[in-house]
């Protein structure tokens, strides 16, 4: 169920230039699933809208939620300045999350690019033991700062790609996919739009299922404002036009259903 709640920051550190890792003590940790997100409210009177940040990891026992986000504007800059012990206002839990059941007994490939890497972590954790063989994880980075790589490696076989070639395969996750000629029955992915388009194209060609986690500017985060929509192949049941709400019907969509 969606609600406003106040969490307490447990820890905060910069794990790569401009990439911040925040653990928050919040009851939302118990219901938060891989691929879902929370709206985080800045305190400044000049920035009123909640910032959508996806679940990176949850510790259900401790009731702790991990958010790994990029410092991109006034809001995230403010979050980055928050210290352990401070309170933070949250809206959530939001979105549909990744369909775990689609991985049952299948060969699974997880692909994350840039700030799309964090949601892959909780997904890899949740899939552990449910898939056919070990999960393969492709993580794409700008440079050698492979944030979350160690965490990911714990839950699957990690293949890195870096744009500058400093670590792993030079190029993006698609290059790494080819380099390691990995095979899969289903792909789960999150990352920049060009990467998602490439994955969608690859999956269509290979005739395999792919689930994409999409991003878009949001206002309400709960499906009321219709700010964050994606063009869909079929008429969407809510809008009755070819537009699904990323915050509500998404952020995770079957690649075949969306036109990106």
């Amino acid at each position: 169920m969606k609600k406003i709640s106040v969490g307490r920051i447990l820890s905060q550190r910069e794990i790569a230039p401009g990439i911040h890792d925040m653990w928050i003590g919040t009851e939302l940790a118990r219901e938060a699933g891989a691929g879902q997100f929370v709206g985080v409210y800045p305190r400044s009177a000049a920035t009123l809208l909640p910032r959508p940040i996806s679940v990176c990891e949850t510790d259900r026992e401790k009731g702790a939620l991990r958010l790994v986000y990029r410092e991109a504007g006034a809001g995230t800059r403010e979050f980055a300045a928050c210290r352990a012990g401070e309170e933070i206002r949250l809206l959530g839990i939001l979105g549909n999350g990744f369909p775990l059941e689609q991985a049952e007994g299948r060969r699974v490939l997880l692909m994350g690019g840039g700030i799309g890497v964090p949601p892959i972590l909780q997904l890899a954790k949740d899939l552990a033991g449910r898939t056919a063989g070990q999960v393969n994880i492709l993580a794409g980075y700008r440079d050698g700062q492979l944030f979350l790589a160690e965490d990911l490696a714990r839950y699957g076989r990690l293949y890195a790609a870096t744009e500058d070639g400093s670590r792993g395969t030079r190029g993006n996750v698609m290059d790494a996919l080819a380099a390691h000629s990995l095979e899969a029955d289903v792909i789960y992915t999150c990352g920049p739009m060009p990467m998602l388009r490439a994955v969608k194209g690859y999956a269509a060609g290979a005739g395999i299922r792919a689930y994409l986690s999409l991003e878009e500017h949001m206002a309400c985060g709960v499906g009321a404002c219709l700010g964050c929509v994606v063009k869909t192949r079929e008429t969407d049941s809510h809008s009755h036009v070819h537009n699904a709400r990323i915050c509500t019907e998404g952020p995770v969509f079957d690649a075949q259903e969306v036109e990106i």
């Binding site: 309400c220 985060g221 709960v222 009321a224 404002c225 219709l226 929509v229 009755h240 036009v241 070819h242």
Partner: protein
């Protein structure tokens, strides 16, 4: 403590409503707010057929507010009558349906359909959406055009009609008088103020539509001024909105001449905003010994 207000013969249990387009058709926010406590729910704009709206990005944040260029995406009157209206009728609140169109005929078709429907208390006519090319705003920026569409809709509508005015005009009083002269039962204002944001590092417009409608606390002083000017130009009731975040903001609009108020963009910043506004009004009345909220309407000292 009396909080009832009456608009065009329709009595609201309190003056707090929702601003069209910020509250869907009530369903989404019913998880946060007991709709039974609201004076009225104003729906997202409904057209004669489904509208796809504008390309994304559709929203952008600005200092103390936001810009939107949704483009009135909506599922159309059929779905509204089958799905949204029955949902709203389950609650003890007034239902005001916002009507949009590209041509006068579009508006008339929706008004006719709603006239046959049960449980629609009033129609709010959106002639001021800055984000759709045809229709809409064109009707809302010239007094003659506003007079024409208002009188034609009034002849068709079975329920009282509220004309929603655009702030993007030289003389809001002139627009208010035109709508009143054409038979409008009430006015609501302000709709959003046209704004623009540019991403200076990408050198691109923040919105695919280039311009968008600005809302939020940043625009409140402009809204209060226009509500005051409109309320003093006409005899019909005025519904005030524009950046209302709390009870004190709402009281400011009432004192300026509004009979009721709508909470818009602040629902996004605080899903409980509508109820907090209501509680804030009641707290103000308590503190200042106001027995009946109607004492506040237009009560600013001249």
């Amino acid at each position: 403590m009396k909080t009832e207000v009456t608009i065009a013969g329709v009595t609201l249990k309190n003056p707090v409503m929702t601003a069209s387009g910020t509250f869907g058709s009530g369903m989404e926010y019913s998880e946060f707010v007991d709709l039974n406590r609201l004076g009225a729910v104003v729906t997202k704009g409904v057209a004669n057929v489904p509208w796809p709206g504008n390309p994304t990005p559709r929203v952008a944040e600005v200092y103390g507010g936001m810009l939107n260029a949704i483009g009135l995406q909506n599922p159309g009157i059929d779905v509204f009558l089958e799905r949204d209206l029955p949902f709203l009728r389950r609650f003890d609140t007034r239902v005001i349906v916002n009507v949009c169109g590209r041509t006068v005929e579009d508006y008339l078709e929706v008004a006719e359909r709603l006239g046959e429907a049960q449980g629609v208390d009033m129609l709010e006519i959106n002639v001021s959406c800055p984000n759709v090319k045809e229709g809409a705003i064109a009707f809302g920026q010239k007094p003659e055009a506003l007079y024409d569409i208002t009188s034609r809709i009034k002849r068709t509508a079975r329920q009282p009609i509220i004309m929603k005015l655009s702030p993007n005009v030289t003389d809001i009083a002139e627009m208010a008088r035109a709508a009143e002269a054409a038979g409008a039962d009430a006015l609501s204002l302000i709709n959003t103020i046209t704004g623009m944001k540019i991403d200076i590092y990408k050198r691109k417009f923040a919105l695919a539509n280039k311009t968008g409608g600005m809302s939020g606390p940043a625009i409140k002083p402009v809204a209060v001024r226009m509500v005051y000017q409109a309320a003093h130009a006409v005899k019909i009731p005025v519904i005030g909105m524009g950046g209302i975040a709390n009870g004190e903001d709402a009281v400011e609009f009432l004192l300026a001449g509004a009979t009721a108020v709508s909470v818009g963009a602040m629902n996004f910043a605080n899903p409980h905003a509508t109820l907090e506004v209501l509680q804030g009004i009641e707290a103000y009345m308590e503190r200042c010994g106001v027995e009946d909220v109607r004492e506040l309407i237009g009560a600013v000292e001249e």
